[in-house]
Amino acid sequence: MTAYLMDVATLARKDLRLELRARSVVPAMLLFVVAALVVFHFALPSGSSDLAAKGMLWVAIVFTALLGLTRAFVAEREQRLIDGLLLAPCDRSAIWLAKSAAMLGFLVVAELVALPAFALFFSGIDGATVAGVALADLGICAVGTVLAAMAVAGRARELLLPLLFLPLAIPIVVGGVGASVADEPARYLGLLALYDAVFAIISWASFEYVVTE
C-alpha cells in the first residue's frame, strides 16, 4: 500500500516538475479562464441575473479543464514516454492516480485565479459554490484523465476528447450549477460526491485496459 502511494507520489511529482520546467499547460489555462470570463461578460446582455453568470462560471470551468486535459497525455505519446511508464514496475492504476492528481493541481491553480476573478467581475461567491467546485474538480480529473488517455490513441486527438468528455460532464454541470444557485445546495453536492465516488472507482479499475495494448 505504501509502495503504491510512493509510486503515485513519484509519478505525480514528475508531471508537476515537467510542468514547472516547460510551463505549457497552466499559463494557458489561466489565460483561457480569464479570457472566457471576459467574453461571458459581453455575452450576457445587461440586466441578466447573477444566476446566469454563475452558470457561465461553470461553463468556463469545464472548458478550462478540457483545455488542460487535452494536453495531459500528449508528452507521453509524442515522446513515447508511455512505453517506459508501462514498463516501470508499478501498478497501471498508479499512473492514473498520479495523472489525475497532477491535473487536479493544475485545475486548482486555474480556479484560484478564476474564482476571485469571477467575484471581481460578476458577483460574490458563497461557500456552497466553492464546495461544488472542489467536488466537481475531483470528478472532472478522474473521468477526464481516462478519457484523455483514450483520446490520444485515436487519430483526431484534440477533436475526440471534447466529444467524449462533454456528455459525461453534464451531471457535473448540473450538480455544480445547482450547488451555486439553489437554496438547498446539499442535494447537489451529494450528486457531485456520488458522481466522484462512482466514476473514481470505475476509472481506477479500468485505466489499466485503456493504456495496455
Binding site: M150, L160, P167, P171, V177, G178, I202, S206, Y209, T212
Partner: protein, 210 residues
C-alpha cells in the same frame, strides 16, 4: 411475428383512455426506450466480458448492441418529440426527463462511434470501446438523477405526469409491445452480428486465396 400482434393489440384491443389517442404512441415509445436501455446494458455487459475474460468476438457483440441501441435511441427521441408535440404542443420539452436523458445518451454513444472509428482496429480499440461502454451504463442512472435534480432549479413547479393507472388490458398490451420490441432487437442483433462475422470471414478468405 410479435410485432404485428403488438400493433394489432394496440389498435384493436387496448381501450382508449381519457388521454385520447396519444396513448397509442405510448405503447410504442416506452417499449422502444426500454429496449434501448437493454441494448446499452447488453453492450456494456459484453464489454465487461471482453475485459474480464477476453472472449474473442465479445467486442464485436458489444459494438453491435450499442449500434442498435443508438438506433432505438434515435427512434425514442423522434417518437418522444412527436408525443410531446401532441400532448403539450411543443416539439421539445426540457421538463420531459426521459427525453432529455435520451438526448444525453445519444450524444454519449455518438461519441462512442467517433472513438471507434478514429482508433485503428485491434486489441487496444476493443479495450477502449469496452471501457467506454462501461462508463455509459454508469452514466445512465447518474444522468437520470442529475436531470431530476436539474428540473428543480430550471422548472420549480413539479411536473407530474403519472396519469391514470393502467388498466389490465392496457398493461397486457404494453407487455406484448415490450416483448415485441425486445424480440425485434434480438432479431436485428443476430442479423447484424451474422453480417459482420460473414464480412470478417470473407476478408480472411480473400487473404487466403490472394
Amino acid at each position: 411475428m410479435l410485432v404485428p400482434t403488438a400493433i394489432a393489440l394496440v389498435f384493436f384491443y387496448a381501450p382508449v383512455d381519457e388521454d385520447g389517442l396519444n396513448q397509442k404512441i405510448f405503447y410504442f415509445h416506452v417499449p422502444i426506450a426500454l429496449t434501448a436501455y437493454a441494448c446499452f446494458g447488453w453492450g456494456a455487459w459484453k464489454g465487461l466480458v471482453h475485459l474480464w475474460k477476453g472472449t474473442p468476438g465479445a467486442d464485436l457483440e458489444s459494438y453491435v448492441a450499442i449500434h442498435l441501441g443508438v438506433i432505438f435511441g434515435a427512434m425514442t427521441l423522434l417518437t418522444g418529440s412527436l408525443w410531446a408535440k401532441f400532448r403539450w404542443g411543443h416539439w421539445w420539452l426540457w421538463s420531459e426527463r426521459q427525453l432529455v436523458l435520451f438526448l444525453v445518451l445519444f450524444l454519449f454513444y455518438s461519441a462512442y462511434f467517433m472513438l471507434r472509428y478514429s482508433v485503428e482496429p485491434g486489441p487496444q480499440r476493443a479495450n477502449l470501446c469496452a471501457v467506454y461502454s462501461l462508463f455509459g451504463v454508469v452514466l445512465i442512472p447518474i444522468s437520470f438523477l442529475a436531470i431530476r435534480l436539474a428540473n428543480q432549479y430550471i422548472h420549480p413547479v413539479a411536473f407530474n405526469r403519472h396519469g391514470p393507472q393502467m388498466a389490465g388490458s392496457q398493461f397486457f398490451t404494453f407487455c406484448v409491445c415490450l416483448a415485441a420490441m425486445l424480440a425485434l432487437f434480438a432479431a436485428l442483433y443476430q442479423f447484424e452480428l451474422a453480417g459482420k462475422r460473414l464480412d470478417a470471414r470473407l476478408r480472411e478468405l480473400r487473404e487466403l486465396l490472394a
